[in-house]
């Protein structure tokens, strides 16, 4: 069974964010960031396992949004706070496919 594509995309985004915050953590708290190159390689390895269509959608959205994937809680897109149809969530929780917010276009990830 292939790995859940949305989870891989979420991991990819979380690593992206980690890289963005690394410099601040090093400067203000003294955490080492000597593995930056390794982490960039790890991110590239994650990308290899993501379906090309999904990754291209993510990258296209990334030009517009800092975080192209957003959580959904109580049927609300936490990117733009639009209320999503309940039926959308029923499919989104079960399915491994990609669902995007009809209002803002971000990729949705159900956390509840």
């Amino acid at each position: 069974m292939t790995r859940n594509q949305i989870e891989l995309l979420v991991l990819y985004q979380d690593v992206d964010l980690m890289l963005q915050e690394a410099e601040g953590e090093e400067k203000t708290m003294g955490f080492g960031t000597e593995g930056r190159e390794q982490l960039l390689k790890a991110r590239a390895d994650i990308a290899k396992n993501i379906d090309g269509r999904f990754l291209r959608t993510y990258q296209r959205l990334h030009t517009k949004f800092k975080r192209p994937i957003v959580p959904v809680q109580n049927d609300v897109c936490l990117g733009c706070f639009a209320k999503l149809p309940t039926s959308y969530g029923e499919k989104g929780r079960k399915d491994q496919g990609m669902y995007t917010c009809e209002q803002c276009g971000r990729i949705l990830y159900w956390v509840d």
């Binding site: 989870e7 979420v10 991991l11 985004q13 979380d14 690593v15 964010l17 980690m18 890289l19 915050e21 690394a22 601040g24 953590e25 090093e26 203000t28 708290m29 003294g30 955490f31 080492g32 960031t33 000597e34 593995g35 930056r36 390794q38 982490l39 790890a42 975080r67 994937i69 957003v70 959580p71 809680q73 936490l78 990830y109 956390v111 509840d112």
Partner: protein, 153 residues
């Protein structure tokens, strides 16, 4: 950030005074488990993998027997802190190469309304730099004793 504010995130059910795990990976798993048991994370494997990626960037073992494994992940909806104490110490590839006894696991969502993740992380790092407080925390046998030390910081 005040220590009192931080102590709101320290909970008895997320305090592990007798960690038995003997490796870095096992410690991570033991620290994440209480969050899984209480339904505070959506995917255990996703959290563990994100934490592991954070360790790739650089060990969160900050030396003097303390590690603060942390990450932002969409697998959680709110900031969570788990405290663990290992009496024997664990090799965590810490900056001073010494075994780690005191662990603070911090996981937070990518976006938080009150932006507490970095202040919490900073406050913990600042608090454990005090050798007396650090040792008292490591010696704490239960949550009440640990929290008392922390509140007094």
């Amino acid at each position: 950030m005040k220590t009192v504010e931080l102590s709101k995130y320290l909970k008895p059910e997320l305090f592990l005074p007798e960690l038995k795990a003997g490796s870095k990976a096992a410690v991570m798993e033991a620290l994440v488990q209480p969050l899984v048991d209480r339904g505070l994370v959506k995917g255990k494997s996703l959290v563990l993998e994100t934490l592991s990626k954070r360790e790739t960037l650089g060990s969160t073992g900050i030396g003097r027997g303390v590690a603060v494994p942390h990450c932002r992940t969409m697998a959680v909806s709110d900031v969570c802190i788990v405290v663990g104490i290992s009496r024997d110490g664990v090799d965590f590839a810490a900056s001073d190469k010494k075994p780690v006894n005191l662990f603070f696991l911090i996981v937070a969502p990518p976006v938080e309304g009150n932006a507490l993740y970095l202040p919490i992380l900073g406050k913990i790092v600042e608090t454990v730099r005090d050798s007396k407080l650090r040792q008292a925390m490591i010696n704490a046998r239960d949550f009440a004793a640990f929290n008392k030390v922390f509140q007094g910081a």
